[in-house]
């Protein structure tokens, strides 16, 4: 079996030993990268077909991260697994739900994306302040409580007015995204599906930074 198959099977132990074997045989970083990405892609497809679940999605990311740090440890020419990019994330004001947000954070970090977590119950001004300081590629807002929707609208408008969305995507996750029709300006993407959120961030950042293989 190839490395990609072990990743697709979520077989942590064999993926690890296969990586060691490939590294000792002098696999090129491009080939290694390709195998890992192919494996992750198969897991993603399985998830979409409901053949595997959130835990598997997260573990596949962990395996990828482990593989790249093993390769990096052996050879400094192999870059650490890094989809360059930065995500600023938080649960909007007057909402304290953090389960979904924290799962996305774990997943993003496993994919090598830098995450700045503002926590829960984050006032609009706080989002704005950190958006100005951190200059993230993506601002991700989590919201479960429908009564917090006005705060998201205020945040979106405020980010737009301050020209903080010129170079930054604004995305929304959480249960409000499917509570009927919600109309929030300047939102680039929204979903309550962790995988879709993860995929959006990954695709956008990969495209933006055009990873060198």
């Amino acid at each position: 079996m190839d490395l990609k198959d072990y990743i697709a099977e979520l077989d942590v132990k064999n993926a690890e030993s296969k990586t060691e074997e490939l590294i000792s045989q002098g696999i090129t970083k491009g080939d290694l990268y390709e195998q890992v990405m192919k494996g992750l892609q198969i897991v993603g497809e399985k998830y979409a077909k409901q053949e595997c679940y959130l835990a598997d999605l997260i573990v596949s990311g962990m395996i990828a991260k482990d593989i790249f740090s093993a390769a990096h440890a052996c050879d400094n020419n192999v870059p650490e697994f890094r989809v360059q990019g930065k995500v600023l994330i938080g649960t909007i004001y007057e909402d304290i739900h953090d389960l979904g947000k924290d799962l996305l954070i774990d997943a993003l970090k496993n994919y090598g994306i830098e995450v700045i977590n503002l926590g829960v119950d984050v006032p609009v001004a706080e989002f704005i302040k950190h958006a100005q300081i951190e200059k993230p590629d993506i601002i991700a807002v989590s919201c479960v409580m429908a009564n917090s929707i006005p705060h998201i609208k205020e945040l979106a408008q405020s980010l737009k007015d301050k020209k903080l969305l010129d170079n930054t995507k604004l995305i929304l996750g959480g249960a409000v995204t499917h509570s009927g029709h919600i109309d929030i300006p300047h939102i680039d993407f929204m979903s309550d599906d962790l995988f879709l959120g993860l995929q959006y961030c990954q695709n956008y950042l990969t495209e933006r930074y055009k990873l060198e293989k």
């Binding site: 942590v12 132990k13 573990v59």
Partner: protein, 241 residues
């Protein structure tokens, strides 16, 4: 005395034991003697003895005879249920996090795993009347293709259905300690003084596969838990005659 001969023999011998006429360790009359005393056949006497043995009053040494048991007086048993055996009623169980991680040090031994194995860690906060009273860390091995996170988000006690299904093969062990809370525990349980907490560690093992199914650390403030244990009682209501 019961109308059924073997049952009346049982209660007669039991009475002698309970009154102290027959003392622990003492030898019971031989089968022929008992047959004479109770005017009963061998099968009846054997049936009585086997019932007494089931109930823990006598034991038999093949070739030698039957003896009165010496009950162990330092084995205690208590009933423990995290969710409804406390001094207060748990009215809210909040799932704080579900995380998949490399097995933390110390936990890998409890679950018979190796350092690089992935585990699922679930943190739950139990409250009573808006007051957090206990914090629970649940660990189990990550197995591919299981909707663990999805189920966790839906059901508070993920293992309950499994526990019910496998009740006969699950072996549980409890270890109880007292620990001073760290900052995380203090914050989550919302108190500031250095009040020690009960730390209850539960290991659930599947005896047929020999695998550790789950390891739980349960921290609870002492005022909400008291442990009362007594000598094990034989439940006679369910004996099959």
């Amino acid at each position: 005395m019961s109308d059924v001969l073997y049952l009346s023999i049982v209660s007669s011998i039991k009475e002698k034991i309970l009154k102290g006429d027959l003392k622990p360790g003492e030898k019971l009359e031989s089968e022929p003697q008992l047959m004479k005393i109770y005017d009963a056949g061998r099968m009846t006497i054997r049936k009585s003895l086997s019932l007494l043995s089931n109930e823990g009053y006598v034991y038999s040494v093949p070739g030698k005879g039957n003896y009165i048991c010496k009950p162990d007086t330092d084995i205690f048993q208590f009933k423990f249920n995290k969710y409804d055996g406390l001094k207060t009623h748990i009215d809210k169980v909040k799932l704080l996090s579900v995380t998949i991680k490399d097995t933390p040090k110390g936990i890998e031994k409890k679950l018979n795993l190796e350092e690089n194995d992935k585990i699922v860690e679930v943190v739950r906060l139990l409250s009573s009347k808006e007051q957090p009273i206990a914090l629970e860390y649940v660990y189990f091995e990550y197995l591919p293709n299981q909707p663990v996170i999805e189920d966790m988000l839906k059901f508070a006690n993920y293992l309950k259905p499994l526990e019910e299904k496998l009740a006969f093969v699950l072996d549980k062990t409890l270890e109880i300690g007292i620990e001073l809370p760290n900052e995380e525990l203090k914050n989550k349980l919302e108190f500031q003084d250095n009040e020690p907490l009960f730390k209850i560690m539960e290991t659930i093992k599947n005896t047929s596969t020999k695998k550790i199914v789950q390891y739980t650390i349960f921290y609870i403030r002492p005022k909400y838990l008291s442990l009362k244990a007594s000598l094990p009682k034989v439940d006679k209501s369910s004996n099959i005659f």
